[in-house]
Each structure stands twice: as structure tokens, then as C-alpha cells.
């Protein structure tokens, strides 16, 4: 077995250390070692975005990164999105607009949309669709997701 590595990170604002084998992806570490099971495994090859997280502010697919690479980084996952039980405006808008059906893709869409609104607080429909192209949803047909993001952007008043 490859030597296990001790990795020090910050996850959703909390100092978090873990042990992992080099062959474990960040997604596997999040789900199987740390039990942050919000991030989902869809395709496991960087197409579907269900495992989207932010690493040092950059949106990535956690299936395409090794857990050991996370040393020293700040990670944001879906578990850090709601604030003390209060839904993030994006989560609220996804509920109100039915931006999900089966729900597997939803954590990834929410992380991706959060990253979008941080960079571009008032995106138009085209910008939303382009940004979310790395997230696949096989249920909704995307329209409801796009409307939810638009509504959240409007509710947030342009401030992410």
C-alpha cells in the first residue's frame, strides 16, 4: 500500500486533518474518510460536476484531484453552504423553483452556482448556462435550475 499521508486542510472554515492513501481522490476522502457525503460521485471522470467543491476559491471536480494534493488548502463543500440551519439564498431559490428532482446533481449545481455569483453577481441567462455546462442534470431539463440561479441572484441583490 502507498504510504498514507497526513494532510492538513481547512474545510468550511474549520481546521481539518486526515490520513489518506495517495490513490484516494479528494471526493473519496470527503465522503469515505470525513463523511462529508454531500458531494456526490456521478461520472468519476470530470464530466458531470456532481462532486464540485471549491479549493482555495477555485471551483473544481473533487474526483479529478487527489486528497493528498489538498495539503494546506481551504476547501468549501456543500455542507458549509447553509449558515446555522438557515438556507443559503441559492438553496432557498432551488427549493422554490424546484431546481431539482432526484437531487443527486444538486450539491454540485449549488457549489457551481455559488462560485458563479461570487464572480458575477448578476449573470444573464447565457452566462449561467455557460458556467453550469460542467454540471449535468438528467431530470430537470435545466430551465428550472437556471431560473433558480436567476432568482437567487436577484434576491441577493448583486452581492454574493
Amino acid at each position: 500500500m502507498g504510504k498514507r499521508h497526513h494532510v492538513v486542510t481547512t474545510i468550511n472554515g474549520e481546521a481539518t486533518e486526515f490520513l489518506c492513501e495517495p490513490r484516494q481522490s479528494l471526493l473519496e476522502v470527503l465522503r469515505d474518510v470525513l463523511f462529508f457525503t454531500g458531494s456526490k460521485e456521478g461520472c468519476n471522470d470530470g464530466n458531470c460536476g456532481a462532486c464540485s467543491v471549491l479549493v482555495d476559491g477555485v471551483l473544481i471536480d473533487s474526483c479529478c484531484m487527489l486528497g493528498v494534493e489538498a495539503e494546506g488548502s481551504e476547501i468549501e463543500t456543500i455542507e458549509g453552504m447553509a449558515n446555522n440551519g438557515e438556507l443559503h439564498p441559492l438553496q432557498q431559490a432551488f427549493l422554490e423553483e424546484t431546481g431539482m428532482q432526484c437531487g443527486i446533481c444538486t450539491p454540485g449545481f449549488l457549489m457551481s452556482a455559488k462560485a458563479l455569483l461570487k464572480q458575477n453577481p448578476q449573470p444573464d441567462e447565457g452566462e449561467i448556462r455557460h458556467w453550469l455546462a460542467g454540471n449535468l442534470c438528467r431530470c430537470t431539463g435545466y430551465d428550472k435550475i437556471v431560473r433558480a440561479v436567476q432568482k437567487a441572484a436577484s434576491n441577493m441583490g448583486g452581492g454574493a
Binding site: M1, D45, G46, V58, C63, C64, G134
Partner: protein
């Protein structure tokens, strides 16, 4: 994934030593958007994965009078968010903004795209059009390889097992010059090129005649292809449809595509002609400062 060891050297010397010791059984890891997928599919089984992102020479972007040096592990996102690069090398922005989705762009590197040597690689035609050079190092010394000579077959490059791609150098474009890259896919994003083309043009100061041009085509041959004759035919010619279409036809005739699930050879051949014309026209507009 199979079992392997991981290390993250913080100096180029250390990485050179590791590559020399583990000759053939080590892989460098930048963004992982190709390597990790191949490892999962058992197409690659390195005993040691060497993280390239903490090596200063592989992580830096440098712009000076001579040109642009991009470390091999620099991500697409870091490239297209760099305003200076966008100003001088817009074709590189064309390329890096349409590789994968936002998530992939946050990790995928220019060096990785080159070393992966896909016939459809979206940055390689742009690098070739710019006359870019791949700077390589090993325990045996340095090599400076023109990008058009770097890929030799699908997934194969001239790199030896002990060699490291350190960075890619793009000469500073002359006055009145610019490049453009275009890709054809049947959707708007997240797809692999059916065909792609990059064109670099240098115009006279009046913006009326071509001084020189470099054209490269992709996804229509076993490797991205430099079509020197297509650019050469533009030298000294007036900027008009006759000149542009002559170059486009030469590029088209250089293509030797296959039929596959993404398109037919016939379609791809025609796409090369159309895309070559369009990239030249846009490059001309950019060189004139119109776009």
C-alpha cells in the same frame, strides 16, 4: 485506482532526480484531468506520482519583451484570468476558455494538454501558430522543442521517460500581428473538437497585406498539424478573400481525418477549410485593432 506513491517536490532539481531514479515508472501530475482519469481506467499505472504544482519553474507565468513563458502546470483558468496574456495572446484565451467546463479549467494545465498529445487538443494549434517552444529538462540536460515537433502520434510525444516539460515559451507577437483559434463542436461547450484551427497573421503597418502567417489544424490527423505552406502562401499577398481562401484550401488538403463518432472525414475536411478562413479573418481584425 491502483496503489502508488505520491510526492510533491519543491524544487526542479529534486523533480529531475526523482524522474531519473524512477525512469519510466513515474508520472508528473499537474491538473489531473487526464492523468487521474487514465489511472482509473488502468491506461496508466505509475508507481510514483510527482506533483508538479509546487515546483516554482513549472508554476510561474512570466511576460517580458521577448515573450510569454508559461509554467507547465499553470491552469487554464490562471491563463485566461491574466489580462496581459489576454491582451497579447487572445488565441490562447480562445483555447483555454473552451477546454472542458469551469471545473476542468480550474485544474487542467497547458503543459498537461501538450503532454497528453491528443489529436484534438485545443491549445496545441494555438501554440504552434504562435511558434511556441517547449522547454524540457532532465538529468542529461535541456532541450528546446518547437511545439509542432512535440507530438508524434495520438498520446505520444518526443519526451523521454526521464524528461520534464518545464514551460512553454511563446515569442512576443510583432506589431500588427495577432492570432485566433476556433473549434467546431455540435454544442456550445464541454465537448471534444470535431476539428479545430489556429491562425497567426502578421500584417504590414497599413494593415493591407500579409507579411507572414502560421496555420495549425487539429483533430484531423494523428497529431495537431502545422501546415507551413498554408501560412507561407499568404506572405506578401493582399488581405482579400482570394488570398484567404487559397490558404484555407491548402490547410484543407493537408488534413487526413478519420470517420468516428464525432464526425465524418468528409465533414472534418470541409470544416478545416471553413475554420481556417474564419480564423484568418478574425486574426486580421485583431491585428488591425478592430476586434
Amino acid at each position: 485506482m491502483h496503489d502508488f506513491d505520491y510526492c510533491a517536490p519543491v524544487s526542479l532539481q529534486e523533480a529531475i532526480g526523482l524522474m531519473a531514479t524512477h525512469k519510466g515508472s513515474a508520472n508528473l501530475l499537474a491538473g489531473g484531468t487526464d492523468l487521474l482519469i487514465f489511472m482509473r481506467a488502468r491506461r496508466k499505472r505509475p508507481e510514483l506520482v510527482i506533483d508538479a504544482k509546487l515546483i516554482p519553474e513549472l508554476s510561474e507565468v512570466k511576460i517580458d519583451e521577448s515573450g510569454l513563458t508559461i509554467g507547465a502546470s499553470v491552469s487554464c483558468r490562471a491563463i485566461y484570468e491574466n489580462a496581459e496574456i489576454a491582451d497579447l495572446y487572445p488565441a490562447l484565451i480562445d483555447s483555454t476558455t473552451l477546454i472542458g467546463g469551469i471545473q476542468v479549467q480550474g485544474r487542467a494545465s497547458l503543459g498537461g494538454n501538450l503532454c497528453n498529445a491528443a489529436p484534438s487538443a485545443d491549445t496545441i494549434p494555438t501554440l504552434i501558430a504562435h511558434g511556441a517552444v517547449a522547454n524540457v529538462v532532465s538529468d542529461k540536460g535541456e532541450r528546446h522543442i518547437p511545439v509542432e515537433e512535440f507530438c508524434i502520434a495520438p498520446g505520444k510525444t518526443v519526451l523521454e521517460a526521464n524528461e520534464i516539460l518545464v514551460n512553454i515559451f511563446l515569442p512576443r507577437p510583432a506589431e500588427n500581428s495577432a492570432a485566433c483559434f476556433l473549434r467546431f463542436i455540435p454544442r456550445n461547450e464541454m465537448d471534444i473538437a470535431v476539428a479545430n484551427v489556429a491562425a497567426f497573421v502578421e500584417l504590414d503597418s497599413a494593415g493591407e497585406n500579409f507579411i507572414s502567417a502560421r496555420i495549425a489544424i487539429g483533430s484531423v490527423a494523428p497529431t495537431p498539424l502545422f501546415v507551413a505552406e498554408a501560412g507561407d502562401t499568404l506572405s506578401g499577398k493582399p488581405i482579400d478573400e482570394e488570398s484567404i481562401m487559397a490558404a484555407a484550401c491548402i490547410a484543407r488538403d493537408a488534413a487526413s481525418p478519420i470517420d468516428d463518432m464525432r464526425g465524418t472525414a468528409e465533414h472534418r475536411t470541409q470544416l478545416v477549410e471553413v475554420l481556417t478562413g474564419r480564423t484568418i479573418r478574425t486574426a486580421v481584425s485583431r491585428a488591425r485593432g478592430e476586434a
